[in-house]
Symmetry: C2
Subunit: 232 residues, 2 copies
């Protein structure tokens, strides 16, 4: 079943409205594309809380599907799977339950880990009106300046790459995190990697990392949705 | 369908044959119990490679199910799911594919992490005939003595506990890693935790960690299989 009209999605953008780099919005973009659902994205900045007040909270992604409004990338994935079951995002009830572990790992390990490599770079690409909010909120979270968070990143790279070992181990045994076909697990991890890929010039993955090969294959899906993304 | 006779499983044991502490054998024990399959375990020590030579490799778990011999805990889980589909271990094809990520995370993060807290304790409980092999192989792996690996563990505990965050995040949203019912994902993580639980007196989890509550619930399944386990 297709929706009566395009799904509308508020999507984090930089000063350049075509620069989209949110790790959570990218999970949703891939999920919508997987379902074959047309989407109209609206560029949104961190401080535009009024623009999404209709969702009852202040973060993106938010989707509006006719009368339905859903926020939070995981809740959106569950909504899409229930409302438009085919093609499946999760591969059944066990697939959904276990994908939540991948989501939790990406949130706890990937997002937190990657932020320490690119948060100062992101400051350069976000909209000028977001800069005060971004610096204050992130410096409070990390307990130091954006500049200090990112400092010495080359020396920390090996340890970070080692943390991606679970992904590498899975890809030794199957083509996608979803098995023989891409699933939401692929979109969780690849969506999160779109964040440094688009928002920072820093190369997080080694050139010979098999995760890089898989990441490009996810980007190539759905007419090259990820490959076409504007990047800094 | 039930097998014609009990499945026979070679299970790592300590000097005390009733002390079973392998993180991989415990994954298999829980999987067999979940399937309701009768099992006869044979205590096995690291150096008894001839006793499992019939499996074509040198590690446990190994199961013999009539004419079928399967080694490696993941391969055994897949074998059991295919041969005895109900009750399900994975919850469908997506569940199986995504459980491989949990397995990879447990192998890369949990097993490696936990070893650094208990490897010297394990030396005390393994069979005397295994000690030379155990010390040499583990000291080669870690590049230092068993004593040095375990040193300063109290100071490293907070960082280790923080690495368990993905499990905690999932358990905030669902009762089991498998969702509304336990799945092989629960057995992977709980089976791995049986290793320090049975093999070492050191308390890895904080008393108020929700993972501890869930772990006791997994142990209580199948007539209290995990609760009845002999521990040091």
């Amino acid at each position: 079943m297709l929706p009566a009209m395009s799904i509308v999605m508020h999507d984090l953008a930089g000063a350049d409205p075509d620069l989209r780099f949110s790790p959570y919005c990218w999970r949703t973009r891939f999920a919508l594309a997987h379902k074959g659902l047309p989407v109209e994205t609206i560029p949104w900045r961190f401080t535009e809380t009024e623009a999404i007040a209709f969702s009852g909270q202040g973060k993106v992604p938010v989707i509006r599907d006719g009368a339905e409004v859903v926020s939070d990338s995981w809740a959106i994935a569950e909504y899409l799977e229930d409302r438009y079951p085919s093609p499946t995002l999760f591969g059944g009830t066990g697939g959904r339950a276990h994908a939540l572990f991948v989501n939790a790992w990406a949130d706890a390990v990937l997002v937190g880990g990657i932020a320490r490599f690119i948060v100062r770079d992101l400051f350069d690409v976000i909209d000028p009106k977001d800069r005060h909010y971004f610096r204050i909120s992130r410096e409070q979270r990390f307990g130091t300046t954006l500049e200090a968070v990112q400092e010495g990143r080359e020396e920390r790279l090996a340890a970070f790459r080692n943390q991606l070992m679970p992904v590498r181990l899975v890809l030794r045994r199957q083509k996608w995190l979803g098995g023989t076909a891409p699933s939401y697990a692929d979109f969780i991890v690849a969506g999160t990697l779109m964040w440094p890929h688009c928002g920072s010039p820093f190369a997080l993955l080694a050139g010979d990392d098999p995760i890089g090969t898989w990441f490009r294959e996810v980007q190539a899906l759905y007419g090259g949705l990820g490959l076409a993304a504007k990047c800094v």
